[in-house]
């Protein structure tokens, strides 16, 4: 019998799960259960039981926000102040009934401030998966899974609007990431099943890794159910040569709704790399090339099948003693290349902000700004999109859909430097791209995207044990096109990020952050049909500035528990019509 010790009582796994299922009928029972788990977690550790482990997160945020400025001078229709916040606890349970099986479950209890006596409280299951190994060879995972393949098949690209962002401004962004299941590995959180295995063939193949998956990414409603399946395999033939294959197919399942039309989007790419290395240097050649198909079936109007291709070839060099890695590559992604898994954006620009969504007596939608993007969970997308999502060229124009942005080709350069004593780390990315097909004109647009940044750890220079860090970042995104007064394009956006983290007292840091963006010029933004075809252009004539200043204190109780108090000042100036946002917030965060 699988026996789980709980303090001095003993429950079977079956009875525990049965109890959990019953308990979900009452949120109060869940809260009690959660509390019991937290209280008992120490006891588990003390007793050395390794079949059950507890983990989780607790968080409380309380914020007061005010809106003011010229844009609101005669506004009598909208609220100018908002108080909001919530407390939540995620109680995670990792059960190992045997050496090859794991059940992972996270319960969430959340209470919105203002929902008194439990009226704003919710209890639900945040995460549930089972994983294990068949015959100790083939790993599997069923339930909530995180998936990624290559940058052109399945990849959750980082969102726009930040270049080496300060700690002060990224604090609430970390909350957004946690809430949306984003991680540093650029994976998409989906529900389905995944398996992977690895083997080797002596003297022929050093290591052969493969993974396969299937996941449901949209339930049937008025549109059919949407699934994604795929396979990735990587063969390390030797330490000199690696070959790979990626295949991802996003498709709708016919007859799962009354809508007869469906779409399918298979994408495959081949990867390869070869390298030479010594103790001092590693030189590498790499490539990825592939093809996508986009097909709409049973549509009321005929839609042509679209096939697109991509190709990337480059070289990199790693000067190990200096700590410098540099690469140069050529990339070409055709205008018809479509990959739902790689081109879906994190930010949903069709969604209005949670705070002050409208402005003015005509209830005009307040445009999402950089500050909203740094803190508003509602603006973020967790689903793969079957068409290219809208973007705002102020924040990303050259690579609106990451490296997989269609209709771009040109040279890409990257340099990363890390000082061996960790005093300085710095990076430079430069993209010089142009259209493959003219976009609304025969003349191609040329794009230049440069991002650079550095972190200076002054504490390392001073040999201090207290944190003293300076962070800087700068980005320039430029689009231009020659032509007459109608077709010409000239659009420039500059973003600056800077910040200071200084531990003024033991465990107490002062945080400063600044972010500015200036966007000016003329650009045409493609408007796409439901079938992903450009059918019109929106003319953007922009003269826009945003400034965000952040100041705050952070007190660390332990490495994983902190409380922070911050004030943010935001000024948005659009053709001289400005508005300001002032927000003070307290954030308590606990990871256990």
């Amino acid at each position: 019998m699988n026996c789980i010790l709980m303090h001095k009582n003993c429950y079977s796994l079956k009875s525990l799960l049965k109890f959990l299922v019953k308990s979900t009928k009452s949120k109060y029972l869940i809260l009690l259960l959660a509390a019991a788990f937290v209280i008992n977690s120490k006891l588990f550790a003390q007793q050395g039981n390794n079949k059950v482990a507890f983990f989780g997160l607790g968080r409380a945020v309380l914020q007061q926000t005010q809106l003011s400025g010229k844009a609101l001078d005669s506004d009598t229709s909208n609220a100018k102040q908002a108080n909001s916040g919530n407390t939540l606890i995620d109680v995670g349970l990792n059960v190992k009934p045997n050496a090859n099986t794991q059940i992972n479950l996270i319960f969430r209890a959340k209470n919105e401030f203002g929902g008194f006596y439990g009226s704003g409280a919710t209890v639900n299951v945040r995460q549930l998966f089972v994983k294990g190994a068949i015959a100790k060879k083939i790993n599997y995972k069923i339930g909530d899974i995180d998936l990624k393949q290559s940058r052109y098949t399945l990849w959750n690209y980082d969102e726009e609007g930040r270049v080496n962002e300060s700690t002060a401004l990224s604090m609430l962004r970390d909350v957004v990431y946690y809430e949306n299941f984003y991680n540093k590995n650029n994976e998409w959180r989906v529900q389905g099943a995944q398996t992977d295995f690895a083997f080797s063939i002596k003297n022929i193949i050093q290591k052969w890794n493969s993974q396969a998956y299937i996941a449901r990414i949209k339930v049937a409603s008025s549109a059919p159910e949407m699934l994604i399946n795929g396979v990735s395999t990587t063969i390390d033939q030797s330490k000199f040569l690696t070959l790979g294959l990626n295949y991802a197919n996003t498709f709708e399942v016919a007859k799962t709704s009354s809508e007869p039309s469906t779409f399918r989007n298979p994408v495959f790419t081949v990867t390869g790399s070869t390298k030479l290395q010594t103790d001092k240097i590693e030189a590498k050649l790499f490539t990825e090339f592939g093809q996508s198909t986009l097909e709409y079936i049973n549509t009321t109007v005929p839609v042509n099948l679209k096939q697109g291709g991509m190709m990337e070839v480059g070289a990199s060099i790693d000067l190990k003693k200096i700590g410098l890695v540099a690469s140069a590559s050529f990339r070409s992604v055709s205008s018809d290349f479509f990959s739902a898994g790689a081109q879906s954006k994190r930010i949903n620009f069709n969604q209005s902000a949670s705070l002050f969504p409208t402005i003015g007596n005509d209830f005009a939608t307040r445009e999402t700004n950089l500050w909203d993007l740094s803190r508003d969970t509602r603006l973020y997308n967790r689903n793969l999109s079957q068409r290219l999502m809208n973007y705002n060229p102020r924040y990303a124009n050259t690579l609106a859909y990451g490296d997989a942005t269609p209709n771009r080709q040109g040279a890409v350069f990257n340099i990363n430097y890390k000082h061996k004593s960790e005093i300085v780390d710095a990076f430079l990315q430069a993209n010089f791209l142009s259209n493959i097909k003219g976009e609304g004109a025969l003349e191609a647009k040329n794009y230049q995207l440069i991002k650079t940044g550095a972190n200076v750890n002054i504490d390392k220079i001073l040999e201090s044990t207290r944190v003293f860090k300076l962070s800087l970042g700068f980005g320039m995104d430029k689009a231009s096109r020659n032509g007459d007064t109608i077709t010409s394009v000239d659009y420039l956006s500059n973003i600056i990020d800077a910040g200071v983290d200084a531990e003024i007292l033991k465990n107490t840091e002062i945080l400063l952050g600044i972010k500015t963006i200036k966007a000016k010029g003329k650009e045409y933004i493609p408007v796409r049909s439901g079938y992903n075809q450009i059918e019109n252009f929106t003319l953007l004539k922009d003269d826009h500035k945003e400034t965000i200043l952040a100041i705050g204190l952070k007190y660390k109780f332990t490495k994983n528990i902190f409380v922070a108090l911050q004030h943010h000042y935001v000024k948005v100036d659009d053709f001289g019509k400005d508005y300001k946002i002032n927000q003070s917030f307290i954030l308590f965060n606990l990871i256990y």
Binding site: A79, S258, G410, A411, L433, G438, A441, I486, I534, N536
Partner: protein
């Protein structure tokens, strides 16, 4: 190292190669939307007299040198009825400007002289033509669930603590059909944007019915229509459809699906609002319903009155609620 130098050189050459002029264009040319605008062929009605009791395609014609956002506004000179036809194209013809005699802003057209005005607002174009209506359009058929006249259903009303005005009125507005209409207006005192709601159950319309006897099971075929009067106070009208999945004469929003769609009422005057059932979305996703749109199981329709902003004002009136099949109701 020589190899690496050569690779960098190749990358730079490829970069320059990438800057070559493309020979194809993705999408239409921007000049089709943003170039200088000229009329190639003037605006006119396809005939001097329109009859709406036959298959005659009554329409308008015009041609321009590029695409533009245009609007045709037809006004009954006696009735005051208004029909608007909008489009974005280079050509106006029977494909995009057929008029079947319906009305955008109530009242409905009579047999009368009408003035048709063609405008391209961005270009300052305004051209007028006249047309005579010989025979008016027959009234669309469907399942009328409320007209707020003598056949008033025994609906339920929920008032929020804001004290919203929710009642049948006969003045000051002129009802589009009959003499009475239903008014909802108020101010969001408590800051939750909710003002109140009206609910109509199938048994209120025909006492022996537990679900509305719609004539289709296909969500994409069923339309719910009503006439809505806007007061220039942007308001949200959320329409909910509760299904009785197990035919037990109760629509339970914890165990059965509720579908909804919100409409922002931001116009002045009477206007038709039509909702295709397949375009509604689930409103109680956490309930244990079957998550399947079943138009033949709708047991209740609710009208929820919301403001567009916290502590805002909201007002609208509505009348003549009707389910139609295959196409939206056109007065």
């Amino acid at each position: 190292m020589r190899l690496m130098k050569n690779i960098w050189l190749i990358a730079i050459i490829l970069g320059f190669w990438a800057c070559k002029k493309p020979k194809e264009v993705d999408g239409p040319l921007v000049t089709e939307f943003y170039g200088p605008f000229n009329l190639v062929e003037g605006f006119k009605a396809s005939a001097d007299t329109f009859s709406f009791n036959n298959t005659q395609a009554n329409h308008f014609t015009a041609k321009f040198n590029r695409s533009a956002d245009w609007k045709i506004t037809i006004k009954g000179l006696q009735s005051g009825a208004v029909k608007e036809i909008v489009g974005s194209s280079k050509v106006i013809d029977f494909n995009n400007s057929v008029w079947n005699g319906s009305t955008t802003f109530i009242p409905v057209f009579k047999s009368e002289n009408c003035e048709a005005t063609f405008t391209v607002e961005d270009e300052g174009v305004l051209i007028k033509d006249t047309v005579f209506i010989k025979t008016v359009k027959p009234v669309d058929q469907g399942l009328v669930i409320a007209d707020f006249e003598t056949n008033n259903p025994g609906f339920f009303i929920d008032y929020s603590s804001d004290g919203d005005t929710i009642r049948v009125e006969s003045a000051p507005l002129k009802a589009p059909y009959g003499k009475q209409y239903f008014l909802m207006q108020g101010y969001d005192k408590n800051g939750d944007t909710y003002l109140g709601q009206l609910g109509i159950e199938a048994k209120d319309v025909i006492s022996s019915d537990t679900v509305f006897k719609t004539s289709t099971k296909a969500p994409s075929e069923l339309y719910f229509n009503l006439l809505v009067y806007g007061f220039n106070k942007p308001s949200i009208l959320k329409i909910q459809f509760g299904e009785d999945e197990n035919n037990n004469k109760i629509t339970d929003n914890k165990t059965e699906d509720v579908y909804a769609k919100s409409v922002t009422v931001d116009w002045v005057g009477w206007k038709v609002v039509s909702i295709k059932y397949s375009e509604t979305t689930i409103d109680n996703a956490s309930a244990t319903g079957n998550k399947k749109q079943e138009p033949d199981k709708i047991g209740i329709v609710s009208f929820i009155h919301l403001t567009t902003a916290v502590k805002g004002k909201a007002a609208y009136a509505f009348d003549y609620m009707i389910f139609t099949t295959g196409k939206p109701f056109q007065p």
